[in-house]
Amino acid sequence: MTSADSVKNEVFHQISQLLEDKSLTVTDDMALIGGDSVLDSMKLVELCLALEDKASDMGFEFDWTSDAAMSRSRSMFRTAGSLATEFISQMEAKK
């Protein structure tokens, strides 16, 4: 498993921790915002804070407030996959 794969798994793990329905499996196309979102707005903020902590443990700062991060192909929060991709991209950019 590559480093990117294990980081993606970590992001998915953080999402799964916040799911109300524990029987759900986190997949790339799982919606995090919008009508089909599996997380309410409070859980989404908690996810951001958890990812901030995780990034800090990994030696970089996860920025969920920048224009670039928020507007890249609309929003990094649109799916679990897009969030993991953004997280990995920030990690690699700050290496």
Binding site: S41, M42, V45, C48, L49, T65, S66, D67
Partner: protein
Amino acid sequence: MIIVTGASKGLGRAICERLIEKKVNVLGLARNVEDVPFATMSCDVSSYESVKAVAQKIKRDGAMVIGLVNAAGIASMNLAVTTPPSVAQNIINTNLLGTIYCCQLFAPLMLRNKLGSIINFSTIAVALGLKGESIYAASKAGVEGFTRSFAREMADFNVQVNCIAPGPIDTSLLKGITSEQIYKIVSQQIIPKQFKPDAVADLVELLIDSRANSLSGQVLHVGGA
């Protein structure tokens, strides 16, 4: 720690001094912080990047933020039709967007602890619809609308968001305004007198007190409107 914007003069400065007097750990923000005798950082609230740089520094330093007072603001007494677009833009950028940026970027520092109080600043001109203050009042009406909605967004995190709406308080912001003009405004308040910065500092003290944590999304008019 409580962050206070507009800390170098006027209401912001008075609020900082009061909080420091009450042994509160204060970080004052202002564009120009030279000769300000307490902990400060330079910050232009109308610039998202400037506010973000301060937020990142506070986060890296690990300071526990429990309050934000958005006192930075600029006033203008002009008819809308004689106000240059650059002035209108500056008023909206500082008063409305500045408040929004500070809330967006400093609130996450409070969410983690599920504790905090945010105080925004409006003006009695919104409630009274004062002539010659239409653009200023528009910027502050925006702050009131933002405060009500943002208060709901923050409620789940035990962060209260309120707004203080002063009348013409005796500060440098009123430089150039005649006493007749001030009288005309204060005579429309429920309590028809001009208040000192201390009255506003009293309200700030009240709102940051944990005993006021049942209050959120409210606009408190100094002098009444």
